[in-house]
Amino acid sequence: MAPVTVIPPEELRGRTAPVWDVRKVRADFPILSRIVRGRPLVYLDNAATAQKPAAVIEAIDRYYRTGNANVHRGVHTLSEEATAAYERARELAAVFLGAASPSEIIFTAGTTASLNLVAQSYGGSVLRPGDEILVTEMEHHSNLVPWQLVAERTGATVRAIPVMESGGLDLGAFERLLGARTRIVAVAHASNVIGAINPVNAIAEMAHQVGAVVVVDGAQSAPHLRVNLVAIDCDFFACSGHKLYGPNGIGILYGKRALLDAMPPWQGGGGMIREVQIERSTWAAPPERFEAGTPPIAEAVGLGAALEYLMRWDWEALVGYEQALIAEASRKLQEVPGLRVLGEGADRVSVLSISMDRVHPHDAGTVLDTLGIAVRAGHHCAQPLMRRFGVTATLRASFGAYNTPEEVEALIAGMHEVRRVFQ
């Protein structure tokens, strides 16, 4: 496995930014040659799910054709190979996210499952009546509803850190909300609606000062930022394989080893026990303790291939490229009459949301679809944030490593077409 170097920003000063070879990357993604409604596909729904490179598709195909078996305890060659591939994916995930050890990486069904696991297992065992869980107004429902469920069960309360008009979190309010009752702070690393990047390092430091544990929803940050969990120093971090150019059906939950060791299982079943008797059982050590049943093996193989592929990328070049792309898109969109980009003031990953006068996002989305442009319209599973910005739905465009400046132009032309239809 190639070591991954993270270059500190001070070493980058004065250097020419490396160039992102988008044509070369596009060639790795077979779906990008598709024609939709007579036009070449312009895929700008990456925050929902990213497309898959041939390396991922082929790895899954190869696994099912030549290596399919269940993992762990099999005495035969195929099971041994499948186990090695599954555990190798875990090692790759640890390296990719900068975790201290692969034993801190749990495979789940996705970010939602990861967050439910933390809420039920960790939250369920530590929360007491009167305790507080802090979330933010910009959370995806998957980092809000699981906390409501465990709060109801334990007598804890869920409170939200407000989002400012700029799209940034109100850190002053966060400081005032933090207190002796705060047990858990659950925040998105990046918003799935407006793309705003939250200062999770600072949030973790502040939360730790009052003894709270920090849960980061990294579904939207891991595909766009070079995440380093040891540097962030959060306690839990969740992300999804399918947004990382890998298969769906697999997610990652990172947890600090000491916390995982103390947590009870979330689901019971095969693979998560040490010894089972009729009346009681003892648990395996993490990560197996949290992986009951046959895990998503082909998905882990596919995720491993995706992570190997991603770790060959020059992330310094990618981040610079995506930032230039989103800045250009934002600037040009705001030149379209009657159009507003929400939370425009925040640093963000390459995700943005648009609101238009007198045009519902679904209608705009349909017009764009006839031009072969795939975007998302709706509340994006973030109804509190919709309420915060006084809208019921937005049109969201989200860019990935293979999107081009020409596709930004196509989006802008599409929005002018929307205006023309609904003038």
Partner: protein, 144 residues
């Protein structure tokens, strides 16, 4: 602009979206229902005033896309003055029209514009949201 798009956003739909008809609360309504699409957040209130077997008045309020709003607006116009049995038949025909099973030949000409929805299956729910709410309002009333 492609023909599918022309077909979907005909001027009559754009007109009803910009100036919805019967867009008010019906104070003397005899039945009411809410239509909500949790996937997209569209929500409409439908009010009906039944006089015996006849729909004497119909109105709606709410928010959503052009397709759902125009559909609600034109529906309130289409059902006013019809009997409950006729309205139930209109519901079935409208549903068939947008899902592409039949031409919805018995529908008033204006409602035929929703045929364009067939090319966009994902928008069928937008076109039928207020119709389902209206049917729920009828069902509530007749169950009493």
């Amino acid at each position: 602009m492609t023909s599918d798009l022309d077909e979907l956003y005909q001027s009559v739909i754009l007109d009803h979206n910009a100036s919805p008809r019967n867009f008010r609360k019906l104070d003397d309504a005899t039945t009411h229902a809410e239509g909500r699409n949790p996937l997209c957040g569209d929500v409409y209130q439908i009010w009906l005033k039944l006089d015996g077997e006849q729909v004497a008045d119909a109105s709606f309020q709410g928010q959503g896309c052009a397709i759902s709003k125009a559909s609600a607006s034109m529906m309130t116009q289409a059902i006013k003055g019809k009997t409950v049995a006729e309205v139930r038949d209109l519901f079935e025909q409208f549903h068939s029209l947008v899902t592409g099973r039949t031409g919805g030949a018995g529908l008033p000409g204006k409602l035929q514009v929703f045929q364009g929805v067939r090319a966009f299956p994902i928008r069928v729910k937008c076109a039928t949201l207020s119709w389902h709410a209206m049917k729920a309002a009828l069902d509530t009333q007749t169950a009493d």
